[in-house]
Amino acid sequence: MSKVRIISTLTAVFLFLVTLYSCEAQKAAASQKTGAQLWGENCIRCHNIPSPGDYNDVDWETIGLHMRIRANLTEDEIDKIVEFMKTVN
């Protein structure tokens, strides 16, 4: 049991530190961010950042709607991300 407590405590301290670091790193709310920023920050939460060139504009609209629902992204976020993908693909 003590081993579990030690691991839990170390984990909590570690998570606290990385959260602090991230607090410092954050700059702007999502509404002020560009599609490129949101693409870099949100896709990576589950998988690697996708390459825009791998799909065409129409595909990105379908993928965008799918990811909006599956990954619980806000409307503002997905609109900007899809627009960015369509611009640079």
Binding site: T11, L15, V18, T19, Y21, S22, C23, A25, Q26, K27, A28, A29, A30, S31, K33, G40, E41, N42, I44, R45, C46, H47, N48, I49, P50, S51, D54, D57, V58, D59, E61, T62, I63, L65, H66, R68, I69, R70, A71, N72, L73, T74, E75, D76
Partner: protein
């Protein structure tokens, strides 16, 4: 002659543009096949027994997306895999999604349950950083994977962060009785295609992303419902499950790479009930009961030096610890822990070669009161498309 040639070229260009433009004019509705596949080599050994070395997988999991409009999407996933000498087909999900407004999407059909994050977001082979699932998921797992019903979900900005939510009603779990399977009496099965008691399970998840860069997500989930058959001995046996999940993903310049941490704790409580066993030589079964509580958790950390140069930036190291504890006194009583380490090489953002080593130590399990140590080495190739 020159005029005729030039005129011909212009006509050809005009016709070509018309034909080309027509051929690639996007339609209002879109159909897409996405999905993933994987294959690999497994080496597994239990205690000092002979080891198994086998090519496995060749799993093909197509995901069908039909975008009917900017608000309506239908999604479905099949999973073809080779298992026990035959092709096994899984019907993972098939559901309608309709975006009601900025904050609410309604979903209906068979869908992956947002109970924690592993099943809904992380289980596909090209997303899962290791070749195996953590303890507590998959076969003999305690976490629900999918359900048939209806769900409301969405996300909204809150301050500089955001929240996401899900609230669903599904057919719910089925309690395994001694008559169904004596070795699994008291377990829950979540593939309840036709409700066995008319009581719908209610569940949901709330995710909080407190930071504007979305690097941290904390989630809490619940899932409650009656599990026993209506009109029978177990008609009041209820199941109450909850889970906590954590995610931290960020590219950190100080360590020149991406740090990815995932964790989930799952707890399952099923009301006490009597089950029956037939001892050797007996003709009348004897009843027994136990405190039907299980828990499972995992923590995973991976690091990829994405800011390095050359092939180094494609390498990722990953470690995961997971644990499963099932009820003492049950036929499926088990205490298990697992440690897994892996090295991945990313061929592209969606194609990965995974090499891992894993040790699982367990006591108990189906009809086995002894302890065992299972070691495994895995080399898999996964591809998302």
């Amino acid at each position: 002659m020159k005029i005729i040639t030039t005129g011909g070229l212009l006509l050809a260009l005009f016709l070509g543009q018309e034909l080309f433009g027509q051929a690639f004019k996007p339609s209002k509705t879109q159909f897409m096949i996405r999905g993933y596949g994987h294959s690999g080599l497994n080496y597994e050994q239990i205690d000092d027994n002979d080891a198994d070395l086998s090519f496995v997988g060749a799993t093909f999991a197509p995901i069908f997306l039909f975008k009917h409009s900017d608000r309506l999407l239908f999604e479905a996933e099949l999973e073809f895999e080779l298992e026990d000498g035959e092709v096994k087909v899984g019907f993972e999900y098939a559901d309608f999604n309709y975006v009601l407004n900025k904050y609410i999407t309604v979903r209906a059909g068979k869908f992956l349950l947002p109970f924690g994050t592993f099943v809904e977001r992380l289980h596909p082979a090209w997303i899962n950083r290791l070749s195996t699932l953590p303890l507590g998921f998959g076969h003999d797992g305690i976490a629900p994977g999918s359900g048939i019903g209806v769900e409301l979900r969405g996300a909204a900005p809150v301050g500089s962060g955001k929240i996401n939510y899900s609230l669903y009603m599904v057919n719910g779990p089925v309690l395994v009785t001694s008559a169904m399977d004596p070795e699994e009496a008291g377990m829950l099965r979540f593939e309840n295609f036709e409700d066995n008691n008319g009581n719908k399970a209610v569940g949901g998840r709330l995710g909080i992303l407190p930071l504007s860069n979305s690097s941290v997500e904390l989630g809490v989930s619940f899932y409650n419902g009656i599990a026993g058959d209506a009109g029978g001995e177990y008609e009041n046996v209820a199941a109450r499950l909850y889970a906590f999940d954590f995610s931290y993903v960020k590219q950190i310049s100080a360590i020149k790479g991406i740090l990815d941490i995932k964790a989930q704790y799952t707890k399952s409580n099923v009301a006490n009930a009597n089950y029956y066993e037939l001892s050797p030589g007996d003709t009348i079964p004897t009843s027994y009961t136990f405190t039907n509580s299980s828990n499972a958790y995992f923590g995973q950390l991976s690091y990829r030096p994405s800011m390095a140069s050359g092939f180094i930036k494609n390498i990722e190291v990953v470690g995961r610890y997971s644990s499963l504890s099932t009820p003492e006194g049950a036929e499926w009583e088990q205490e298990a822990s697992q440690v897994a380490f892996g090295v991945n090489y990313w061929l592209s953002w969606r194609s990965v070669l995974k090499f891992s080593y894993q040790v699982t130590e367990s006591v108990g399990g189906h009809g086995n009161a002894g302890s065992s140590r299972r070691t495994g080495m895995y080399a898999h190739w996964a591809l998302g498309f």
